[in-house]
């Protein structure tokens, strides 16, 4: 195991976060604050409690999940796409690093940034609403699992992408709509039966539901199902990454 290599890659990637602090941390925090102003204060004050939880507090897990998914994908996809774009990827490919070690460095850094961001959003949310966490360990586990899974997904997108527009294509056109429709701002139990059934095909429903369960002890679906679906997605992403390194897809000529 090339521990020094993994650490070098991880710290190098993390340094990029501090160098682009504004873009990496501050911008998503400001966006979240705006969500709270609009959904929490302006609209939330006119909303009824959901499952005994104040609407402002109810949307906190969904908001964190929204940022966690988009930032995990964006961080990891950019981290691998940029070396491909500038040509510096030659150094990763010629280094004594196994595919797993490269993924640990890149995905580890991307997931760390997202987790930090999630925690910052949680702290920010606490300034606006009273957030309680019934299962803190489960909350952290879900945070880590989701960040790692979607960083892997972002890594795949970064390798697949041929241009900068493709980098933002999936986060903007697929992940963000799925998150909005995945119960980030409402419970899917509030939907008519047909739309509730359709929503169950949206994988983000299980992420938001599981995460919300760790906060308030209740979710739209069972916690076991949430964990299972997230785990399946993690395995799919891992398998794809291993296949990419074995075949050299879009990495090696």
């Amino acid at each position: 195991m090339n521990v020094r290599g993994v650490w070098a890659l991880y710290t190098y990637e993390m340094q990029r976060t501090w160098r682009t602090l504004w873009q990496s941390i501050v911008t998503p925090v400001i966006t979240t604050v705006l969500y709270f102003v609009v959904f929490g204060s302006a609209i939330g004050s006119r909303m009824e409690d959901i499952g005994g939880v104040d609407y402002g507090a109810f949307i906190v897990p969904g908001l964190i999940m929204l940022s966690l998914l988009t930032q995990s994908i964006s961080n990891a996809s950019f981290a691998i796409y940029f070396p491909k774009f500038t040509g510096t990827v030659y150094e990763m490919l010629s280094a004594p690093m196994s595919p797993i070690e490269l993924v640990m460095g890149y995905v580890g850094a991307a997931a760390t940034k997202s987790i930090l961001l999630g925690l910052i959003i949680l702290a920010t949310a606490n300034l606006f609403v009273d957030v309680r966490i019934e299962h803190p360990l489960a909350m952290v586990a879900f945070l880590v699992l989701t960040a790692v899974t979607f960083s892997l997904f972002g890594f795949i997108i970064g390798i697949w992408a041929d241009g900068f527009e493709q980098l933002s294509f999936i986060p903007m056109l697929i992940v963000t709509p799925l998150t909005f429709l995945g119960g980030a701002f409402y419970s899917i139990n509030m939907l008519p039966e047909l739309w509730r059934t359709i929503s169950l095909f949206n994988p983000v429903v299980y992420l938001v539901s599981g995460f919300r369960w760790s906060f308030y002890g209740e979710g739209d679906v069972s916690i076991g199902l949430s964990l299972g679906i997230t785990g399946v997605f993690l395995v799919i992403c891992l398998s794809l990454v291993i296949w990419i390194f074995r075949t050299g897809y879009r990495l090696k000529e």
């Binding site: 020094r4 890659l9 990029r16 010629s94 004594p96």
Partner: protein, 316 residues
């Protein structure tokens, strides 16, 4: 002596069907400077990239320091440093950060003293805190060399190291390469500057259309394939070479003012005394004479032309 690099029957066919390497076999001895020559698209970069793990070969085996570069890739790659042809650097990073990053990536512990000396050797110490985007092209190329040397490799691949750099920097690079060789580093370089290979390489290999057509010691190839020329500046220009001088296969140049005699540099009997004697008997006087020997460039062009000629004739 056990070769430090051993390539056997290496083939690479790209997805589009282009055969970049065709059954290449090559051994490189430890501590030697090997120059790989070839026209554009001959397969030089593909060969280097395959050994370094950037290109997946179609078939064949490659060993570095006794380690299979695919099966035992970690041990093999730890021995190798690569300076690619294109200048590819993380433009927003500082020189110090990027060189230390490269060392870490290869699993080496931090060594400030070594990196400091390396940057000083490459005249980059004053720029250690500068962002790479602020550096000139020549400095960026030196940063890439520093990155490749940061983990103290035993084998260094230099893909067109002096392409597009000025004469002074090129000379500095040559000195650097010689210094590395003195420290025992094996160097494999590709170049378009034949002068560079002639100046530095212990051996040269010529690759054409993915096939190695010649591998020879530089001095030996010069001896074997080198030609010498005798140029005689005539007192009176002539329209044609007299029949009596036919056995020397002379050429007329400079509108009949010069006679050129090409002979094998290795022949004990050059034929010059008899040529001059016959010219004297024919009353052909000359005002000046000059001899020259062919450069590696002439040999290289000759080899590539010689190899391609039959195919071109066939195609025609």
């Amino acid at each position: 002596m056990q070769p430090i690099i051993s390539i056997s029957n290496l083939c690479k066919t790209y997805d589009g069907g282009v055969k970049a390497l065709d059954d290449v076999s090559l051994d490189i001895a430890p501590g030697e400077i090997f120059a790989l020559l070839g026209p554009n698209g001959a397969g030089k970069t593909t060969l280097i990239s395959a050994v370094c793990g950037i290109v997946t070969p179609t078939s064949g085996t490659m060993m570095a320091g006794g380690h299979d570069v695919i099966r035992d890739f970690k041990k093999a790659r730890k021995m190798i440093g690569l300076v690619p042809q294109e200048i590819s650097t993380d433009t927003f990073e500082t020189v110090w950060a990027t060189v230390n990053f490269s060392r870490g990536l290869f699993g080496k512990p931090r060594d400030k003293a070594y990196i400091e000396q390396l940057l000083k050797d490459l005249s980059l110490w004053d720029k250690r805190d500068a962002k790479i985007m602020e550096l000139s092209g020549g400095m960026k190329r030196r940063v890439m060399i520093a990155k490749a040397l940061s983990h103290e490799p035993e084998i260094l691949f230099l893909d067109e190291p002096t392409a597009g750099v000025d004469v002074e920097l090129r000379r500095n690079m040559w000195n650097l390469v010689r210094g590395l060789r003195e420290r025992g580093v094996t160097i494999i370089l590709t170049t378009h500057y034949i002068e560079e290979a002639e100046e530095m390489a212990d051996r040269v290999g010529v690759i054409r259309k993915g096939e190695i057509i010649v591998v020879e010691e530089t001095a030996a190839i010069m001896r074997k394939l080198g030609k010498r020329q005798l140029t005689l500046t005539l007192n009176e220009p002539m329209d044609a070479v007299p029949d009596a001088l036919g056995e020397w296969q002379l050429e007329l140049a400079d509108e009949g003012h010069c006679l050129i005699y090409t002979f094998d540099a290795n022949d004990e009997r050059t034929g010059i005394p008899s040529l001059l004697k016959t010219m004297g008997e024919l009353g052909i006087g000359f005002a000046d004479l000059d001899t020259s020997k062919s450069s590696l460039e002439d040999i290289f062009v000759g080899l590539v032309h010689e190899e391609s000629a039959p195919e071109e004739e066939h195609a025609a």
